[in-house]
Symmetry: C2
Subunit: 111 residues, 2 copies
Amino acid sequence: MEKINIRKELAKINEHWSQRVIGEANNQLFKLAKGIGETNWHKHDDQDELFILYKGHLTIQLRDKNIELYEDEMFIIPKGVEHCPKAENEVEFLIVGLNVTSNAAGGKPNL
Amino acid sequence: MEKINIRKELAKINEHWSQRVIGEANNQLFKLAKGIGETNWHKHDDQDELFILYKGHLTIQLRDKNIELYEDEMFIIPKGVEHCPKAENEVEFLIVGLNVTSNAAGGKPNL
């Protein structure tokens, strides 16, 4: 049982759209990531996905609208809802969900 | 589906140790609170409780050690572990867990 400094953990990440697990509580994973550009359009049928932004400006593109997320703002993407995060400049964020989703089935773009 | 500004929601809270629910994802409640002084010693047998500090310095007293939590730091109190948060000056924080715990059975002090 140790505390975690979120900004220090973010500073350790050197790959975009790749989630780093920093904790688990009640079967939820708390994960950090950096991103730039955009992922593929995707959805998660098994889980809601919650974002809290720590740095920058992230546009969460949904099929019917865009959510413009800034530092200290939170957004929940319900399970099954297609989304495509996009950032013109590098963003840093916390994600909460059941699983790591930065894989081929999830949000990691093909580079 | 709207975004939530965490600092604006924190600013609306005018009671200490009383949790304000700002979202739910995968059956977890995301809750904000302010605190000063200390709660009663208590534990939650049904859930882990996760804290992320947004303002100030919160000491999470455990029976065998203290966790000194500052802004942007996170700590998970495992289910069943006795704890007693304490703050000399007002603190603002996010809590994640299955239920609201700021009640008589939970962490709200008797004033």
